[in-house]
Symmetry: C3
Subunit: 370 residues, 3 copies
């Protein structure tokens, strides 16, 4: 586990080597889905200094125009494959560091110094990007499918009624397993004892539903003391409360969880409802490595530094436990001389629904019909 | 060369890619033999703290029950592939660190906390293990072939009439080459000058025989001063003695050497015979990496710390020379753009017999008949 | 980028996996050309201490005889593949460190200690080597084609009328790209701003011609102030001079550039012509790694330490810029999930001619005829 590096290199094996099967479930070998909005970077990471990052197997160079608009282009000059992020900016123009070839933010060549005439039909691929709150979303699939309406909702990250703490990890695992991990809350008491796991919770009633390609799970647990991560910031540690939580696989790029803690007997003048929105963002670098950003947002104690500190520390610890576990698992799966067909149990249902959705999208992109 | 790590990762390529040929000799590419007892660990390494080690391409988790019995199971939860060695023990029960799935020492599932009923037909593979003296033997092949009578004899390692010094290496080579190295004593004067190599010895008469799958070589060298490793502990340095030595490829897991130094004219009251049993244990982690343990045992000066110290230092030095040489060789063999068909000479006969035995066993396991 | 290590390991994939096509251009995947003289080492690197170095995918051991003649043999004993560079010398005889097998400089076996009779038909492959000035050339292709007349001319490196400064890099790129880089001077102002790049130069008239398998480019730039690397040593900084330069792809192993700076109005008693010969030597370790040596030679100020210092620093800086750029490019090319067909422009012509020459030689060695 490391924090996200600006330059990282890992290849994605070609999709053609993968055999899809009818009714299959995606796993760490499933080709990545391109026709989807992913987070390329935090807005705060992209500036007038060009950075590069491998996203879905392709190196992308990112910078901002003088007007502050984010730009993302393939990090490979179309002439001799020089990484454009090693070049420089002149105004809004990106200049290759090898032969000085110049590109505008749309990727069109503006000048090739060694030629008398600009080869204006030359270009580098530019990717659609949209900045929403703290996030820069990118579309790396077929350009004419890049519909901004498909960008999933994370408005609370920029809403002044909400306060967020956040962090990021660069991890050597697959995003399928990370999504499955988040759709499965029965691991809380074991992988995260103390902070977010209470034994009752693992057996609390689970409601699972699928809305199109979105998988939603709901849990309710009434009259039970909250785990630390909800008890400490609300001040309700030890008090029986009602806990409502919805977790949703929103897209291959995003998992969001909406939690509400209700104090059934609030002290006079105190509020009864406390909401937490948890945002998990996954952008595969390759089939076996992920850029992972998380946000823990709350609608109370917006200016409370102690709550910030507590929630940041507790969240970072819990998500690092996930990161470590999923890295160990992929290492086991990849290095084992003998394959294993994992057992599935009833609580795995939401994860399997998600894996079927991803399998079908990947198969469709590869041209398979069943 | 490193000392043996508790966690190590290296994959064994699938056996199917290997082409057997009639009358062939095993080499570094030959699939590993599964139906054989190997040493999984020293008894002293296995405790109430779970450890993991890759053996024959499979990760194995090991611990002891409350009663002290060693247990070895596949280090991969059958549910979501979490490495079980990262879990914990509750009495004799191994608890997965991801969802809390519980297994008894036989591998049977005792509880899955998120389920109302235990999936008692679920299990993790448990491997037969037998503790003999300082060694824990494991059988990773077909379970119904795990006959304890097949465990090769190393009784001197636990016999109070014998005293042993020992050491271990984790090495990046193949066990075939290590066996061949030990069956070929003509390298002593060159790779181990001084300690165990004397020039006469390389040309001393060699007797080779095969008993079933065991290859035995005998050498006698009379009236010749012993090399340091035999001369110093016996106090016979410089004196002409008779040296009898038998080296045997006992199994793919074990090479043992029985040496006897005879003083033809012992001083009054002194003994004339001094015996050394040398035990070399190889457990392939993969085709190109080995867990290697050695023991140097003697039947005299049992409580002599100086003899311990000398024999440990001299043995560790000599076996490290072997380790280095065989690591260099595998590196040469694997990286060379052009294959080489090694020349064979008369003294290579015992090694070739051994390589034929291993080739035939591997071919049989792969279902080949010639 | 690192300085050249004596021991380095990198395999060259088998040539058979490559598909040649009529009229094709060599790239980083093209099989290496064996029938060519390459530089194995500087003479100063080879002594009575045996060294090894991987050249064209094969490990080579090198030493000098008592008479000082350089010897190069395959670094792999024909008996059990022990790396011969780990052995030792006894006079002119190379002794394997494993079983003491002895070889004369021609590679013929002189003795195998464990055998009663020398297996004199046993041998290790010895490669023809020729020492020319500071360089030791080696022929690793078909022995009967090793014609010394084919060694390209670099006489100025040993001519007392010339003074050279030099350096070396071990780099992770391919020699095709390095040759292309040197045949393309339009990158000077961008990759090497200041030192050797002036904007006018990138657009100066270029003359390209092919003489057999040699590609030659000529440029002239009149009445223009020289870049630092020519201006500082000549003392002509800022003065309009004539600059003539010829760069030639002499062989897959060698690029040479001949530059002449002419002062059209020399001060009384001062010379008007200043010559620089730049020698770039590439020996592929594998398709993706190169041993690179460079020399910057001049025919004036032979004893001027300041000129030495300046030219060494400026050259090392510029060539390191090339090394970095080409390493970045190969990393991009190898890791990118999607292939790119690079655009070619008019100034790429000399590089493309060179790539066609190498493609044809590689195809011929692989037995292709078009």
């Amino acid at each position: 586990m490391k924090t996200i590096p600006v330059h990282a290199a890992a290849a994605t094996p070609a999709a053609e080597t993968f055999a899809f099967e009818a009714g299959g479930f995606a796993d760490h070998n499933t080709p990545l889905i391109l026709n989807c909005w992913y987070v390329a970077a935090l807005g705060a990471e992209v500036s007038r200094d060009i950075i590069s990052r491998r996203l879905l197997g392709t190196d992308v160079a990112m910078y901002r125009t003088l007007a502050g608009e984010p730009v993302a282009v393939r990090n490979r000059c179309p002439h001799r494959s020089f990484p454009l992020a090693k070049g420089k900016l002149d105004g809004d123009t990106l200049i290759c560091g090898y032969h000085g070839m110049q590109f505008d933010p749309s990727g069109r060549c503006l000048n090739m110094p060694s030629l008398p005439i600009t080869p204006s039909n030359a270009s580098v691929r530019s990717f659609p990007v949209v900045e929403c709150g703290p996030l820069i979303w990118i579309w790396m699939g077929e350009s004419d499918m890049a519909d901004e309406a498909l960008i999933p909702d994370t408005h609370w990250l920029a809403d002044p009624e909400w306060k967020s703490v956040s962090g990021s990890y660069y991890m050597k695992s697959d995003y399928i397993s990370m999504h499955e991990n988040l759709l499965d809350q029965t691991h809380f008491p074991f992988l995260h004892p103390g902070a977010i796991g209470t034994p009752e919770y693992a057996r609390s009633k689970l409601d699972v539903r699928q809305e199109g390609e979105v998988i939603i799970i709901d849990r309710q647990l009434k009259n039970s003391p909250p785990p630390g991560v909800y008890g400490v910031p609300t001040g309700l540690t030890g008090k029986p409360v009602h806990r409502y939580s919805e977790a949703r696989f929103a897209s291959p790029a995003l998992h969001v969880a909406f939690a509400k803690i209700v104090d059934p007997t609030p002290p006079e003048g105190a509020q009864s409802d406390y909401r937490f929105n948890i945002t998990h963002i996954f952008t595969p670098e390759s089939r076996g490595s992920i850029h992972y950003w998380w946000f823990n947002s709350r609608d109370f104690k917006l200016d409370d530094k102690e709550a910030d500190e507590y929630l940041h520390t507790a969240s970072a610890k819990a998500y690092l436990e996930d990161v470590d576990a999923l890295e160990w698992i992929l290492e086991v799966v990849k290095n084992d001389a003998q394959p294993q067909f994992d057992l599935n149990f009833a609580p795995d249902k939401p994860g399997l629904l998600m894996r079927r959705v991803i399998h079908e999208r990947a198969a469709a992109e590869a041209g398979y019909t069943f």
